[in-house]
Symmetry: D2
Subunit: 394 residues, 4 copies
């Protein structure tokens, strides 16, 4: 192990996702014996005190206050982008041109055009690229994929996906960057529906057409009066317009004929992080919920008469993808392990020279769908996803 090639990580940003990513790089070698090994080389933040403290706490060997400096450094192999969405394109394109591999948080970009430019850049520069849709790396979801691929669910008829949160329901929750279109692109749609879209693409396939609606229940909010976290309240009397969606819903026709019903909201009280998906096929069904992420419910139509029912499978066995690396059966893992699994794929990709899915191409496909949903909400009609596709990609 001592002679393994190091993949030196330069991470830009260090808040919630920075914590999740850096932890995953640190923890990965303990569980997985990859051919290459991530090393926390440098972290970037504009506030020097903040980034110095973060570097120390998370275990980075160094820090920078200018991301361009990081990209120029030749002791960095992979740029990990965990900054707000409006910065992804510029950073990623610069990183690609500097020959760095890239892991980028989702959604890939603020606009489809930016996403496409990013994808063009990584292709042109032959770097490894990946988008951080972590949820598909839960062992239960990976196992669902295996069942579907093997035809165990038969022809897929239905996809039913909900991503339900409740963290901004308080009208005093401040106007943070995730609520500003210029910074984030969209609200619940790009932040969490994007995860459901990724999962559905992973499990079922491509979207053909969509029609959707987007709502903003609380139209203005107080300016943030502190740097407070997700549960912060603001007592400020200065109000700002909320110009992104609090909730979005959309209907889908998949290319393979399946119907999809999707909903993403930050206004579903009691659901802290309720990322759920159900799939029904001609031979069976699956159900999954992130808040019980180790469990996969599986139904087989050809189980014996009288004995048909959803099986509640705790996907913690060696028979379940990634699970064997952790603990004995029944000893559950959590949210952070979805990142570790993803980073394992990324290390494998770097080692073997391919960009594992979900990569920037997946990111572009995802963004086409997000764009189609936004357009359908504006035009109040169905929109064909492929019509969103940009010319340069042909």
């Amino acid at each position: 192990m001592g002679v393994k090639k190091k993949i030196r990580i330069g991470m830009i940003g260090y808040k919630f996702m920075g914590k999740a990513h850096s932890h995953a790089y640190r923890d990965l070698p303990f569980y997985f014996d990859c051919d290459v090994e991530p090393v926390l080389q440098a972290v970037v933040g504009r506030d020097e005190d903040g980034v110095r403290e973060a570097a120390e706490r998370m275990g980075f060997a160094s820090y920078e206050t200018d991301w361009r400096k990081l990209i120029e450094r030749d002791d960095i192999d992979l740029i990990d982008i965990v900054t707000p969405n409006n910065t992804h394109a510029e950073i990623a394109i610069a990183a690609a041109e500097a020959g760095k591999h890239i892991l980028c948080e989702k959604p890939l970009a603020l606009t489809l055009e930016d996403a496409q430019r990013m994808y063009n850049a990584v292709k042109k520069n032959n770097v490894i690229h990946m988008v951080c849709h972590n949820y598909r790396f839960a062992p239960a979801v990976q196992f669902a994929k295996k069942l579907i691929q093997e035809g165990r669910l038969g022809k897929i008829y239905h996809v039913r996906a909900q991503y339900l949160q409740d963290w901004i329901m308080d009208p005093k929750f401040p106007s943070v960057w995730r609520l500003k279109k210029a910074v984030t692109g969209s609200g619940a749609l790009g932040d969490i529906a994007a995860h459901s879209i990724d999962m559905a693409r992973f499990l079922v396939g491509e979207f053909e057409e969509v029609t959707g609606m987007m709502e903003t229940f609380i139209k203005e909010r107080p300016v943030a009066d502190s740097s407070g976290g997700l549960s912060a309240k603001s007592e400020s009397t200065i109000m700002e317009e909320v110009d992104v969606d609090d909730a979005s819903a959309f209907l889908v026709r998949f290319e393979n004929g399946a119907m999809g019903v999707f909903e993403a909201t930050r206004f579903a009280g009691g659901n802290r992080n309720g990322n759920r998906i159900e799939i029904n096929g001609s031979k069976g069904s699956i159900r999954w919920d992130m808040e019980q992420m180790n469990n996969l419910e599986v139904y087989f139509a050809d189980d014996e008469n009288g004995l048909q029912g959803f099986r509640n499978i705790t996907c913690t066995e060696e028979h379940h993808p990634f699970a064997g690396a952790y603990w004995p059966a029944g000893h559950i893992i959590g949210y952070e392990h979805t990142f570790i699994n993803l980073m394992t794929e990324l290390m494998k990709g770097i080692s073997e020279g391919y960009s594992p899915s979900p990569n920037f191409e997946d990111g572009v496909r995802n963004q086409e769908i997000l764009t189609a949903i936004e357009k359908s909400a504006e035009t109040r009609s169905w929109v064909n996803v492929k019509q969103m596709r940009l010319v340069e990609n042909v």
Copy 2:
């Protein structure tokens, strides 16, 4: 009790719904002390042997083979219509003109025009009328209504309703009347989405606009080769086109600003009768599933910090509507009790001279929504529900 006024029931049809209705009339007086008492006076069926046997089994005092005969009889107070949808209008209008009270199975009619004519007829003839949307009479649903009415959930943001079944997934399941547009009007939409629509109208209020999709996964089926029940298979080689929807889904904007996401399907393997609804408001949420119909999950946003979570309430207490009439707390009731509760309301309406909700007006409103969904699926755009409204109702 011996001197109670009898309400003499004449029921037209005697299959699945006939069984549910006649049982409810029989069982009602045991549990509820209404001012009037239903009596199973006569049942109608075209097949004399069949209807005679049914009358005996279900406890009707007499039978007829022609429904017009029944309506002419002056020993009948209430006509209960449990025949296929294409017959509802003619029977109900004749019954109303004969001065009979009416309970009609859902959906009210084959078309909105018919539904409106039926409603006009009952109004003109001053008879009591009701549509048999039984699910809203589960004690847990009634209790949810009470919580919402009292403002315990605050402003409603989301309605999420799924009605999931799987009884026709086998391609050998035959082409029964419920799969023929001329007889049934629509498939999953009118049969089960209609129930979800009724429940949402009951709990949350009126629909403003909708956009929907309808799918038929299995386009033709063998002709029925027996009179077989719901799980029958047909080995016939003669195929018939299926011209109704196997599944429908639609997005809703409610008049009060809430978003709705609805799905009804007969192709969700493993869900025998999964009629689920979730509602999220500014102060709380509820979740309900017919397969665990005694339970209501309730979340309150103002529960103490650290102690917030969905409460699983077994609605079998005297504090829950209708439940006190049955068994001690924790001793659950079932599907048939939703009918008993509904008939209790109907008896109260007859006794006191009003038509309890859901009545034919609710049936018309429901049908307007069904029509708007069908139109939206055809036009691939949003349809305003009020624009469906027929002139004669203004």
Copy 3:
């Protein structure tokens, strides 16, 4: 059907169990086509106004105020005993001697001696007899029995049964008859552990030895100041000693080598009627809970690797015992249907001339176990159940 033999029921007592029994007799012919048909002939109560009202409400053709009168009547075929436990023996023996068939509420008697005398009497007089352990008649439990009988669970290792209630936790709940040893024999033990014992005997087999403990958490209670129901409070300042157990627990060794762990309590807050059982065998396991009585969870050790998990089966299909008589799959039944199913067996027994299990012999076996548990609690050691057996039964 009109010419079916009537089984004329004479019921003694008319409170909670009277309601459950009379309803079941009324409802039975609607669902089941038995060879004989129960008729509510007469009900007995000491308070004439009360019993007259009860007769009318429940649908009995007549009433008596003296149970001996009832037994003398030659228009009664079956005596149904739903009175407090201290009256069972005298009534049942008199009924047997009068040649009446008997259904008796559980536990069979106040003492094992009485139970044995009752059993002797019914054997001697060749009448049909049954004890009303209704829970084993839930379709899910009957289906579990079928699985075990077919060897699907293999050799049984574990039985884990809990009967959890909370209706007397309030110290102001009065000193009702169910809390008086002279009337009831024991508390949670005879009232609810007896049900768990019956279910375990039904599913797994005979008990070899037991050791138990019994506790009374609230040692005295106010005298009842009204005729109030199960949730009554008493404001009386006159206190009476509680001389029965609030809770009992016991360990079991079954004759077939299985281990049992049993608990019955009226002090498990939040559990209104939580009657649960789990069984683990060498090939599989089952779990059941009365509050979700339609569901049986089933695990098979030989399910495919990776796909092993408890299946949640909604036992509402034609493949599940008794369920086919009710509603289509997924349309659940409730508490009262366990009685209907039991009475169906009783009618079959009367028609065919045998005493269906659980009969008085089962009642004696159950009482032997209750007695052994009480003795073990006194002697603080294990007690062999067979050593309780009375000589006259040899």
Copy 4:
């Protein structure tokens, strides 16, 4: 942070528990800002190749093949004992005498005498000591403790604990060290019931008396034919006697008057690691299951009428002990985090000079209870736990 005092860990053993412990030390500083910081200094194993590979994989700076060498090293502050139970006493006493702090896996020792000697040694040498009962460090369990301490459940009536596993049900599972009395002391009792006992002592208090039973369902097993893990099968034809319990169950009277019903088994098919506990008090109840370890179900008797039900609380909020250090609400943690939390307490104890509970005194108390259960199973009667207490501890 850079100047924090390092606590240099020397770990003896490196299998399942070695993995869990070493991971926790590594991961702890990422999440918790303790005053001292663990460092993986050395690991011990008898097989040099094995231990070298383990040291590298787990991140230890060095290794030894003789545990006595480790204890002699002056660059070690804390000895972590994860070897089989029969070695705990010798190692721990030597470590204490060398002035090392100690974390020891449970159960503390092979016998109560050994446990007492270990406790005497740590007291005499003034080192910090702790036993690794990790499950009480789940945030949900810690939160339950807080509720109980605050009196939110009132007077405790019932403790119901089950630890259900199924990993040795296959008769071909080999005769590993955990099945040999000379090495392990007891089977399910010391391995998993010991965890339930610790949790009950933590949440409810001291045990007064017990009566129990112990069973060995499979009396002999093939010798292990490989070094295989938990799911290994052996095809060897050489059989060895199994002299420990496959399953144990016991009744408990707590000092505060509560009743306890406990069961631990490795023969409960379908339960991979089902560590469950339920507690009922006069004011409320809690339920917890390790396989859904983030959830605590809580019932309050004084919730409003009609709104009483178990709340399902996802204990991932800043309001829940330890949870704030990890991820936002709804983003669950897993098995390994119970160790991280425990080690955090241990670091705090070392920093502040006290031995956090569960320490060796708790280990002795636990062992007294295990001993009392074994004795009760032999004598087939109740055993008072205090009577087990050894003189030297008075």
